[in-house]
Symmetry: C2
Subunit: 373 residues, 2 copies
C-alpha cells in the first residue's frame, strides 16, 4: 500500500528544535513501517537567519539537516511567503514552531486558515492578548471556527512534556467542573525554592541560591527573566483560558515579582545579582515566618475558577502538602475538580529541558497525524 505523505516544516533548531528533530527521525522510521504507512517528509528547516526549503517536496535528511542548514541555508524568505509556499504542498502540512518568537505566533491564524496544522511549545501565541488566542482558535479545525484542516496543539507550553494541557482539556470536555488549579510551573522557581528552603531545613540565602541556580544553568541568561514571574504568568494565562476564563493577558492579574523595587532600575543582570544580597534579610523573614508555622515557601501559580481569581507569587505550604515535597526542578500541577473531590489529580515531573519539551511537541505531532484526513 502506498504511503500517505505528511509534510513537516520545522522552525527553530536550538535545544528544543534539535531534540525534536531526533524524535522526528524516530517517528518517521516507525510510521514508515506501520500499516498503512505514513511518509513524514521534512521539507523546511528554518532559523532566524537561514532556511532550507525543499521546493521539490522531496524529504530533507533529518539527521543532517542542522549541519546542512548551517552550510548551505539561504537567507529566509518573509514568514508569510514561506507559509504561502508550504500551502502549495501536495498533501497535509504541519508547522513545528520550536521558537518563542512573537512574530511567528502572530501569524498562526493565517497558517491555520491556509490548512496548515501547528504544533509548538511557543507560549507567546497562547498567552498574549486574548484577541490572538481567539483568532487562533477560530481558525483551527479543533477550535471554535469553521472547518479546516489546520489543527493546533501546544502541550509543551505548560509543563513541557507533562500531560497538563491534554488532561485539563479532557476534564473540561467531558463535563467535569474544575474548581482550582494550583502548582509550581517553573523549573527555575522550583529549583530555587527547593534549595532556599528545603523540606527538613537548611538552604542558603536567597541571593546565594539565585547565583547558584544561574551557575548550574537553571535560570535564563538574565535571572530577572525568571524572577519577574512573567513566565509563570504566561502558563497560568493559558490554563485559565482552557478552564473557561477570559484572561485578557498575562499582566491582567496579580503577579508577584521577586525583583525588589529598588533593583528594577539595574542596568544589567550582573548588577542585579551583585545588589540582590541587600534584600536577603527580607527573604529570610519570609522563610522564618513559614518555618515557625511548620511550613515552607514556594513560588506558585493558582487559578480559582468559580471566583475567576488568577495569581502568581509566594505561598506557604504545610510540610505534608505535595507542593512542599517537590524535588529538584520538578513541576507539579494539582487539578481540583468536582469529580476528583478533596484529593486533586496531580501531575508531576520535569517541566523544562530540551528532550521533555520536544516530547510534548512530538506527541502533539502524533495527535495531528491521527486526525488529519
Amino acid at each position: 500500500m502506498s504511503a500517505k505523505q505528511i509534510y513537516i516544516a520545522v522552525v527553530g533548531v536550538g535545544g528544543v528544535g534539535k531534540a525534536f528533530l531526533s524524535q522526528l527521525e524516530f517517528l518517521r522510521q516507525r510510521l514508515s513501517k506501520q500499516n498503512p504507512p505514513i511518509d513524514l517528509r521534512l521539507v523546511l528547516a528554518r532559523r532566524s537567519n537561514k532556511q532550507l526549503f525543499s521546493s521539490s517536496w522531496e524529504a530533507l535528511n533529518i539527521s543532517t539537516v542542522v549541519e546542512q542548514l548551517e552550510k548551505s541555508g539561504a537567507p529566509p524568505s518573509p514568514f508569510n511567503e514561506t507559509i504561502g509556499q508550504l500551502a502549495r504542498a501536495p498533501g497535509r502540512v504541519v508547522l513545528v514552531d520550536n521558537t518563542s518568537d512573537q512574530g511567528i505566533a502572530q501569524q498562526y491564524p493565517l497558517v491555520l486558515q491556509r490548512g496548515i496544522s501547528i504544533v509548538t511549545p511557543n507560549k507567546k501565541a497562547f498567552s498574549d492578548k486574548i484577541d490572538l488566542w481567539q483568532s487562533i482558535f477560530s481558525s483551527a479545525a479543533n477550535g471554535t471556527g469553521s472547518p479546516s484542516n489546520g489543527y493546533v496543539f501546544h502541550e509543551s507550553t505548560v509543563g513541557a512534556g507533562l500531560p497538563v494541557i491534554s488532561t485539563l482539556k479532557e476534564l473540561v470536555e467531558t463535563g467535569d467542573e474544575v474548581t482550582k488549579i494550583e502548582g509550581v510551573f517553573s523549573g527555575t522557581m522550583s529549583f530555587l525554592f527547593n534549595s532556599f528552603q528545603p523540606l527538613g531545613g537548611g538552604g542558603g540565602t536567597f541571593a546565594a541560591e539565585v547565583k547558584n541556580a544561574k551557575e548550574l544553568g537553571y535560570t535564563e541568561p538574565d535571572a530577572r527573566d525568571d524572577l519577574n514571574g512573567l513566565d509563570v504568568a504566561r502558563k497560568l494565562t493559558i490554563l485559565a483560558r482552557i478552564a473557561g476564563l477570559n484572561v485578557e493577558s498575562p499582566t491582567a492579574f496579580p503577579v508577584q515579582s521577586l525583583i525588589p523595587k529598588e533593583l528594577e532600575s539595574c542596568k544589567s543582570g550582573d548588577e542585579f545579582l551583585q545588589r540582590l544580597p541587600e534584600f536577603d534579610a527580607q527573604m529570610d523573614k519570609v522563610k522564618n515566618e513559614a518555618t515557625q508555622e511548620g511550613k515552607v515557601v514556594r513560588f506558585v501559580g493558582s487559578i480559582d475558577v468559580p471566583s475567576k481569581q488568577v495569581k502568581v507569587g509566594l505561598e506557604k505550604f504545610d510540610a505534608s502538602h505535595p507542593i512542599a515535597a517537590l524535588k529538584g526542578s520538578d513541576n507539579i500541577i494539582n487539578f481540583y475538580t468536582k469529580r476528583y473531590g478533596s484529593n486533586p489529580l496531580i501531575i508531576q515531573g520535569a517541566g523544562a529541558g530540551g528532550d521533555v519539551t520536544a516530547m510534548g511537541v512530538t506527541g502533539d505531532l502524533l495527535k495531528v497525524i491521527r486526525v488529519l484526513h
Copy 2:
C-alpha cells in the same frame, strides 16, 4: 451544515455505566453545537438480561434510557448477533463496554473487524492471555493490523480517568526509554495501607482495617477479590505490554496475595474476615520492621523494563517517597524514563469510582470521534 451521525452502543448500566450516560448526554449536547456538528446517537443500551435496540437508528433518550430499559427492555440477543446488527448502522459505530465481562471481551476482535470502535474500562480484554491482546490489536485501526475503522481505547483499565495509558503510550511512541513503572494501582489497597500504617504513625490491626475498608465500601463485596492481588496484576499486565513486554497473563509473574495460605480454603468472605485476626501478628511484624527502618509498607506493582521483571506485592518506602505520602484511596503511578532522569513523571489521584472511571471512557470516546473519518 448537516451533522455527522455517530452511533453509540452502551453495554453495562451499573455505576460506571450510569456515570458514563450522564457524561454522554453532556458530550452530545456540546458536539451538537460545534462546527461542524456531530450527532451522537445512542442506539443500544444493554445489560445482562435486557436490551433496548433502536432498529430505526433514531436516538434513544439518554436521560431516561436506564429507566426505559428496566420497563420495556427485551431479552438480549446473543452478543455476536447484536454486533452484526450494529455493523449495519448507516454510519460509524462505537461500542462502549462498561462491564467487566470476559465473554464480551473475547468478542472484541470480531467487533473491531466489523469496523466498530470500542472504548472500555473492561480490564479482562487487555490483561488475559496475550493471544487475546494480540488479536485485539491486530484487528484495530490504531493497532498493528490491517486498516479498518475499528479503533480501541481503554484508558480506564488502569487508574480510572487518570491519564496513565495515554502518557505511557506517548512516552513509548515518541521514542523515550521507559526503564521502570512503579505505583499503587488499587484504590482499595491504597486506602487499606494508608490506614494500616499512616505516615507519622498509628493505624489499627490489619484485620480491623480490612473490616473497616469493607464497611466503608472501599473493597469488593468479597474483600478477598482485592487482597489476592489479581486486580493489580491485571493492571500491571496491561502497562507492561504497552511498555513492550510480552507478558503471557496476569499469573505469569510473582503476585503476593494477602490471603494467608491457611485461609485459602475459607468458604465465604465472612468466614475469611472472622478468621483474619489470627494473622494480625504477622502483619504487625511487617509493619514494625518498616517502622524501625523509618519506612512504611505499601502494596505496589512494579515493572522493570530492561530486566523484564514484573511483580506485585508489599514493599517498604522511605517517608519522603511520593508513594509513602499517598492519601485516602488515591493511586500513584511513577514512570521512570531516560528523558525524565532520576525524578519520575508522576500521575496521582483517585483511581476508582464511577465518575472518574466514566471520565476515562468519555475521554476515549472523544479520541475515537476525532479520528473517525
